[in-house]
């Protein structure tokens, strides 16, 4: 199916970035452009007008300029998780280049894929996730087995065994005394 063929992922942040100090994930920005062709004009204008301000306000990002003759202009962003993003800025004017640079600066290196869910948490439970022992009586921790089941709602449904039924009938007959196993004088050990 196409949705399994296309990669998807849950929402995530890189090492909980922002919970403590926010660290800019963009490590290196490379601007490849041609000094003479018209398609690189936007990048050239960006370099003249906006690049210095960008570098001053982001001292943690290393900027490389690659003037290459007769090549389309590219922005390459390299991130702390070793991912690279290549953006063709052919025929983009300087405002568009500014916006793309800002986009590269603010994204993490994680690939942009379909989000399976819009929310994510490492701690889904506050009261503790249900286990089979959550709602059991705590005296079972020190119980000696075998022990009679004394669950509230099961007590009403409890059916006695045939042996117990027969013993009950026997007890109700008069002139009969039930002798428990091992209580006769000859059986009691001395």
């Amino acid at each position: 199916m196409a949705s399994r063929a296309i990669p998807s992922d849950f929402v995530k942040s890189v090492l909980q970035n922002g919970v403590g100090r926010h660290i800019c994930q963009l490590q290196r920005l490379t601007l490849k452009f041609c000094k003479e062709s018209g398609t690189s004009r936007g990048v050239r204008d960006f370099i003249e007008n906006h690049l210095i301000d960008f570098t001053r306000s982001n001292p943690g990002i290393v900027v490389y300029l690659k003037p290459r003759r007769h090549r389309t202009p590219y922005l390459v962003g390299e991130y702390l998780n070793t991912e690279s993003v290549y953006l063709n800025v052919h025929k983009n004017d300087q405002e568009e280049v500014c916006k793309w640079v800002e986009h590269l600066r603010t994204r993490s290196g994680e690939p942009i894929v379909r989000l399976r869910k819009k929310w994510f948490t490492n701690n889904p439970s506050i009261q503790g996730i249900w286990t089979p022992f959550t709602n059991k009586d705590t005296r079972w921790n020190i119980a000696q087995f075998p022990e009679l089941v004394e669950d509230e709602h099961k007590a009403a449904e409890y059916e006695s065994s045939a042996t117990e039924d027969i013993l009950e009938m026997f007890r109700q007959m008069k002139n009969v005394e039930v002798i428990e196993e091992g209580t006769l004088e000859k059986d009691v050990p001395k």
Partner: protein, 166 residues
């Protein structure tokens, strides 16, 4: 009758105009064949990249498998909803039985107490917030007992004070 379309040539500098007629009828009888079939097949192969063996490389096989997959996906969209509801119902039932209640009674009590939690949320609470779920079950039981339900030995839970307001 031939269709004729006027067109003009202008030289920007000298502003010289040349008016002529173009015959379009013959041109309009030609039909374009459409895009290269490579692209349509590529669309299907992109959906089939994870298939086993020749089904990911051979056109006819890939087409069949991908069509089947898309059909199944269409049907599954409805089935998923049905199956998820069933799963939530099973989980709520399991949670209720631990606290001495039945699912139908619990859900009825929840609805009559005007609690707007749906089955998905109740199932999530039963898994991740067991104490909240227990309190909801107790509330529902108390409400149903006060409403007159005496099914299956329903026992009044301790610690639920309603003052007859439910």
């Amino acid at each position: 009758m031939d269709i004729m379309q006027p067109f003009s040539l202008t030289d920007g500098k000298n502003k010289c105009w040349l008016l002529a007629m173009v015959f379009l009828t013959a041109c309009r009888f030609t039909r374009s064949r459409g895009p290269d079939p490579f692209w349509r097949r590529q669309m299907y192969f992109r959906m089939a990249w994870r298939y086993y063996g020749r089904s990911r490389n051979c056109w006819v096989l890939a087409l069949r498998r991908v069509h089947k997959a898309l059909k199944k996906a269409t049907l599954a969209r409805q089935l998923k909803k049905i199956q998820m509801r069933k799963l939530w119902g099973q989980r709520i039932n399991a949670g209720c039985y631990e606290h001495g209640c039945e699912k139908d009674i619990f859900l009825e009590g929840i609805a009559q107490s005007n609690i707007g939690l749906n089955k998905q949320m109740l199932a999530q609470l039963a898994i991740y917030e067991p104490r909240t779920f227990k309190s909801l079950v107790d509330l529902a039981k108390k409400q149903q007992l006060e409403a007159g339900i005496t099914q299956n030995g329903l026992v009044a839970p301790s610690g639920v004070i309603t003052r007859g307001m439910l």
